[in-house]
């Protein structure tokens, strides 16, 4: 009895091992990042439809949580067991290109194909004149505000400058009852970006013209002081360094904060989780000179150099970037359209929320294309946390961090 049980287990194990190790001719493995509960089903459907239309091609989708995507890619590539296609953060692309693991796609791209894309979103994936990735997800940031709280506090219009934002936050925080003016993110992914909104409005860039860190400049320090003042005057939620982006969004959904800056997908979440919340979307506040900036993000899907089935992989890419497939994905996840035809659809044209985002695109900054960007972002976030906690003065922390970053950039 016992031995039969063991035998079953062993044979089951062996047959499973056999199944997974034999790669069929025409197998295309695709690593995709899981953006929401809808990501998996979307790609499963795409796989099914594509395989039906292309007999002999076997698509294998591997859905990976975002937080561990870079780790998986790192270990995979190191061991040579990476997939054929993968979604990556476009900000990582330079490392992939430098280490020669990404395949340039120009041999496949026809003028018609290239023409499908909105230029702003395709360009971050182009390096040294070669296209290494296709923008599969694109997003920008804008300011959400709670209309009900604005009304209660007697504010008629969303603030256009940081001074107005401070005034509005004062009025909203004065309402009391666990309601705060401005939701400030202080933890985990994009903590640095949340600060750049203020920094860009001071006319400072992440890297200046000479390629040095802008963090030590007067404008950058002034921006940090704006946030520090908001915290000190209790115009933000308390304990900012324990709030990740998701935590701040949750506060907004509960109607506990007046304003926050985040991506279009919050609209989708509100629709499902807090349908009664009255909110609006407006531009990110400007600085004294009228400068302002939003963060543009694209994720790219890339092909690996060591792929054995590049033709089939390209076919699948071509299919993913047809207008209908794009629309289904973008609308489900709450991203911005990257496809020109798609952008003309009613869904986007008549959508006030999305318009606020697309209007900001001319002022969008993408993460600078430098190796070691993740380390720079990490250092910046660390410095900001020290400032928010009041451990170190803004000018001291930022100047020291600028030095460190310049050291990293020199390598």
């Amino acid at each position: 009895m016992k031995s039969r049980f063991l035998k079953t287990i062993l044979t089951a194990g062996l047959s499973l091992a056999a199944l997974t190790s034999v790669a069929l001719a025409g197998t295309v493995r695709v690593t995709v990042a899981e953006y929401s509960a809808k990501t998996g089903p979307y790609f499963a459907e795409a796989e099914k439809a594509f395989e039906a239309a292309n007999p002999g091609v076997d698509i294998q989708i591997e859905v990976v949580p975002w937080d561990v995507l870079l780790q998986k890619l790192t270990t995979d590539i190191g061991a040579g067991s990476n997939a054929d296609l993968s979604i990556i953060g476009t900000r990582w692309l330079i490392d992939f290109v430098k280490q020669d693991v990404a395949e340039p796609l120009d041999q496949f791209i026809t003028p018609e194909f290239k023409d499908r894309f909105i230029e702003t979103f395709l360009s971050p994936s182009v390096m040294d004149g070669k296209t290494y990735g296709l923008p599969i997800a694109a997003s920008a940031r804008a300011m959400y505000y709670n209309k009900e709280l604005f009304e209660k506090a007697g504010i008629t219009e969303p603030p256009k400058t940081w001074d107005e934002l401070k005034a509005a936050a004062e009025k909203i925080s004065a309402l009391g009852g666990g309601v705060y003016g401005y939701g400030l993110q202080g933890k985990e992914i994009e903590t640095d970006v949340y600060y750049y909104y203020a920094m860009w409005s001071q006319g400072v860039e992440i890297l200046d013209k000479d390629g040095k860190s802008g963090l030590g400049s007067d404008g950058a320090i002034a921006a940090a002081k704006i946030y520090k003042e908001l915290i000190d005057k209790k115009l933000t939620q308390p304990g900012v360094t324990s709030f990740s982006r998701e935590d701040v969004q949750n506060l907004f959904k509960q109607g506990k904060i007046g304003m926050m800056i985040t991506a279009p997908f919050l609209s989708n979440q509100i629709k499902e989780e807090a349908p009664n919340l009255k909110y609006g979307v407006a531009a990110i506040p400007a600085g004294p000179s009228g400068a302002r900036g939003t963060y543009g993000v694209t994720d790219s899907i890339i092909m690996f150099k060591n792929s054995q089935n590049k033709e089939e992989a390209w076919k699948f890419l071509d299919y993913l970037f047809t207008t209908d497939m794009r629309a289904k994905f973008t609308q489900g996840e709450g991203f911005l359209p990257v496809n020109k035809e798609e952008a003309k659809m009613d869904y986007y044209v008549n959508n006030a929320d999305l318009k606020a985002f697309t209007d900001l695109l001319p002022s969008a900054r993408f993460a600078p294309v430098i190796p070691g960007w993740e380390e720079v972002a990490q250092k910046t976030s660390d410095a900001l946390q020290k400032i928010y906690l009041g451990d170190v003065e803004p000018d001291v922390a930022l100047k020291a961090t600028a030095e460190e970053i310049n050291g990293i950039l020199q390598k």
Binding site: S21, V63, P65, W66, T75, Q254, Q269, E273
Partner: protein, 273 residues
Amino acid sequence: MSKLKRSIIAWALLSPLVVLSLFPFAVMFITAVKPQAEVLNPTWWPSEIRWQNFIDMWTVTNFGRALFNSLYTSLIATIGAILISIPAAYALSRFRFRGRGAFNQFLLISQMLSPIVLVVGLFRLIAALGLVDNVPTVGVIYMAFNIAFTVWMLQSYFATIPKDLEEAAWMEGASRGQTLIKVFLPLVTPAIAVTAIFTFINAWNEFVIALTLLRRQESYTLPIQVFSLVAGRYTVEWHHVMAATLVATIPVAILFAWLQRYLVRGLSLGAVK
């Protein structure tokens, strides 16, 4: 002191720890049964108890598949580790041989290497063998990581069993193998059971190896499946996460309740007299 009085004192002393131990479960349960609109509200009194969340969770999170994978890997790890450890523990407790001390130290050192520390190297090994995203492989790795502990536990237990019984059997002409199976093993079943439970729990809850080695959702084990609902998504459906965690915990909790006395007895290395 009367038993009643003793009971009151005992419970009073234990109460802080009891509250702290139950707190996470209370949070899991309350969040799991909240209607979605109330999940973000930290109230302890939801407006209604929504059992439907558990049913939704099952399909939304692909729970059945992950449950199967978890059972599969944990059973491979448990059965394998026990089968391999019994002879080694027997050798350590019944034979004096050169290198015995060295083998013991080898085991202790292998205990110190945790998966997170080894993960880079381990992945290269598995990838070189072409076994990434293979569920049984993960089971075998759990087996390897548990061997030190199982050999150790079994050995200290085996050492407490007097040799007389076995020697008596030899006198009657039984072979060493026969003695082992007929006399020795029945005596040590409690220790084997307890050691098996330890291994099972370790494998059931293991995270880092599964996270690194498993690729497709179909091969995820429960901890990874639940983690994937939380990690880096733009929005987290907390009621599903909590429901899944709770359900994933139940098998182990039942195992504990059922074997609780056994567990302690098996660990009492000198219990059998």
